[in-house]
Point group: C2
Chain length 209, copies 2
Amino acid sequence: MNLHLNSAFLENAVAELSKLPGIGEKTALRLALHLLRQDEEVARALGEAIIKMRSEVRYCSKCHNISESEVCDICSDSRRDSSIICVVESVRDVLTIEATHEFHGLYHVLGGVISPLDGIGPSDLEIDSLVDRVAQNEVSEIILALNPTMQGDTTNYYIFRKLAPFDVNVSILARGLSIGNELEYTDEITLGRSINNRIPFSDTFANKD
Amino acid sequence: MNLHLNSAFLENAVAELSKLPGIGEKTALRLALHLLRQDEEVARALGEAIIKMRSEVRYCSKCHNISESEVCDICSDSRRDSSIICVVESVRDVLTIEATHEFHGLYHVLGGVISPLDGIGPSDLEIDSLVDRVAQNEVSEIILALNPTMQGDTTNYYIFRKLAPFDVNVSILARGLSIGNELEYTDEITLGRSINNRIPFSDTFANKD
């Protein structure tokens, strides 16, 4: 689609908005026309918030999560257990896990997973810095919390091998049936693995403590 | 959802993005994190394009379409037929009709339709300025191209009455079956009206000229 919008400024805004993921030219035009109908302050607040965010937000030098300072709020929180590090793909996964309120250790954001087809190798990820953290700090456990995909599994194994020389437990998130789901609608691979990796019923009491 | 994003700047950007229509907090976060991964130039270009668009884009003093000057490109195009004015609800409708390449007259953007439930009366719309255009210029035909809704029909009738004193033909866009659609899936009101307002078959040859 090649829009003639009667205004180069509008065309430019639509072009920039449609560069965003999931926003096509039609949606971009709808957003731009919406902003045109608002007070000038609304467009200014949005534009400045975007620019400011990109220029001010930094990444924690320890865990590579989003931060406004050298070390992020989670890493510098003395109440958290610094001996457990949860390894995740992205900043969003940190938010997702924090929302469960079940984890009180620190994080390590890899910035992706090993994916040769996409040209992403171990050196493109924050794996060396994870190994450094384990080498230089007292870390008792690494929880691998990558997405349960082939690339995630490959990355898990790579990290597991890299951490082999160190005295650290490496665990992985439990995989199995989703709570509340029905057997009938569970995919075959998940169900098959749930059968193979079945757990003693008595363990489910222990989990309830 | 109340996000704790480790950064007030990120939270602010997400808050501003989620004010846009159709963009919830989760999508806003996805967009913000995407921008964080891009070069600083990308975020700056987007932010500035939005601010610039809102401050620079004006509306044509004649047809109220988007314009960068006092009178828009369409109104000032001497190749267009200034004796025919197509009345539309919004700026977007101008783009939609222009995309058909079937109309070579001028436009008049009402800025909405009469809708008492939403508190929009005739005085909130550019109806008086339409009447002025008809009174002060040589206009032979007004094409009402509002959406085929109850509010659109109400507005059509209001405009029709307002234009009664003038020597101008008032026409309305044809309504009936969508080209390529099947009878079975046409809604009953459209199909019923298509039967009542059937046209001589020989007219369809004439349209093909």
